[in-house]
């Protein structure tokens, strides 16, 4: 999607085409431009600023397929005022959209390599476009591994798709939950522990991780233990993005602006900030 007729600060009006409840507190909206036909292209890992009229504007990563321009897809969780209001919207309602913004995942650089994707909780949403891109270009990638951890079995996002990734697209998919009651047949334990036995060649692999920051810290340590160098580890960070173009400074992370220089960073570029409190 080109940046909104040249003015990145001006929201464009989009209509809600579809709403899908993914889990108890997570939902996906599909959006279409309400007036003009627009270029909806984006790169995996980018985000949009979604404006709920009369309530406020928030950054939400794009979770759709970067190889398709049918609609804009966003998955988000109900956590604050704006997402609560967003959850109450219905098909046909309008939202404002600015974007896409941010530095994407290095999918081109990953070609010819093993790819290790690690997602925690809602962090699967920004990783899903990478999976879609890999599926569309599967021959260009070697071993692809998806490690996904979440809270309980009922919090698993996109469960049907996840099964297809494994069955149809040769993506080694490992799902784990922090705790399970009842008939859960899968793995229980933290996602970081899956790194040790995941099938990839650390000398020729590129890792991309997205999830809560504490989970990513431990994930990076496990990847390092496996022998992946910091230059081949990418993480998606989250800060209080407002303008989306690095002007307002709300999302400053050391010398970087998450909205413009991130949200995806190569780990060695921000390693010095990763363990610093209150950055």
């Amino acid at each position: 999607m080109s940046n909104l007729n040249g003015n990145p600060m001006l929201p464009q009006s989009f209509r809600i085409e579809r709403i899908k409840n993914e889990t108890d507190d997570t939902f996906t909206v599909e959006l279409q431009p309400s007036k003009n036909v627009m270029d909806l292209s984006f790169h995996a890992g980018q985000f949009n600023m979604l404006y709920i009229y009369g309530v406020g504007e928030i950054p939400i990563s794009i979770s759709g397929d970067p190889c398709s321009q049918d609609s804009l897809v966003h998955t988000t969780r109900v956590v604050g005022t704006v997402t609560k209001a967003m959850r109450k919207l219905r098909v046909g309602d309008l939202v404002g959209v600015r974007g896409p913004f941010g530095n994407p995942w290095p999918v081109e650089e990953a070609k010819g390599k093993d790819v290790v994707l690690i997602a925690g909780g809602i962090g699967l949403a920004p990783i899903r476009p990478v999976v879609n891109y890999i599926i569309a270009n599967r021959h260009a990638f070697k071993n692809v591994v998806m490690l996904y951890g979440t809270r309980t079995p009922k919090d698993i996002l996109y469960p049907r798709e996840i099964k297809l990734w494994e069955k149809k697209h040769r993506i080694h998919t490992f799902v784990t939950v922090d705790r399970a009651i009842g008939n859960w047949d899968g793995n229980v334990g933290v996602v970081t522990k899956l790194v040790a036995r995941a099938p990839f060649d650390p000398q020729n692999a590129l890792a991309m991780a997205c999830g809560p920051e504490v989970m990513m810290r431990f994930t990076v340590r496990e990847l390092q233990k496996r022998g992946i160098v910091d230059e081949n580890i990418y993480v998606s960070t989250e800060r209080n993005m407002k303008c989306g173009i690095g002007h307002c400074g709300h999302c400053q992370f050391g010398s970087e602006f998450v909205c413009k220089d991130g949200p995806v960073f190569r780990y060695d570029k921000i390693a010095h900030l990763f363990d610093v409190w209150e950055v």
Binding site: R151, R179, G189, R197
Partner: protein, 153 residues
């Protein structure tokens, strides 16, 4: 015995262990099989063994009144099931159930403790390896307790 020795030498937990130490473990070890669904150990019972898992998946769980069994960890190939044999009162801390068919090597706790006592170098090696497991599981438990995926996490 030769097969047991080979299995143990190939187990990740015993990576780079001296062959004479492996031999000491073999003296306390035996092959075991648990069909899927079988309970391997129960919380509070005597922890007289531990297991090197060769194949299959084991669910560790704890029973909570009115909630049933809460699964807290899955152990797979190359994992070790059980550390309660090392410390008094030698009782299992959790339940373990075979999620799939399990092939494992069982080691008699009292037998190995005696060997550790008689050969401190061997005992230190064993303790160091188990300490690593305890540290990793403590770290995992901390992460689970942080509940990082919750809305407030």
């Amino acid at each position: 015995m030769e097969t047991l020795e080979r299995f143990l030498a190939e187990h990740k937990f015993l990576e780079n262990m001296k062959p004479e130490f492996i031999e000491q473990i073999v003296g306390c070890a035996s092959n075991v099989h648990f069909p899927a669904g079988e309970v391997i150990c129960r919380e509070g019972r005597d922890a007289d063994k531990f297991y090197f898992i060769r194949e299959g998946k084991v669910a560790l769980d704890i029973h909570m009144p009115q909630k049933g069994s809460i699964s807290i960890m899955t152990l797979e190939k190359d994992s070790v099931l059980g550390w309660s044999w090392l410390f008094p009162p030698y009782r299992w801390q959790f339940n373990a159930r075979a999620k799939t068919d399990i092939h494992a090597i069982a080691v008699e706790g009292a037998c190995l403790r005696a060997k550790c006592f008689n050969d401190h170098e061997f005992g230190y090696d064993i303790l160091q390896r188990f300490s690593q497991i305890l540290a990793e599981r403590l770290q995992s438990t901390r992460l689970q307790l942080m509940d990082v995926y919750s809305a407030n996490g």
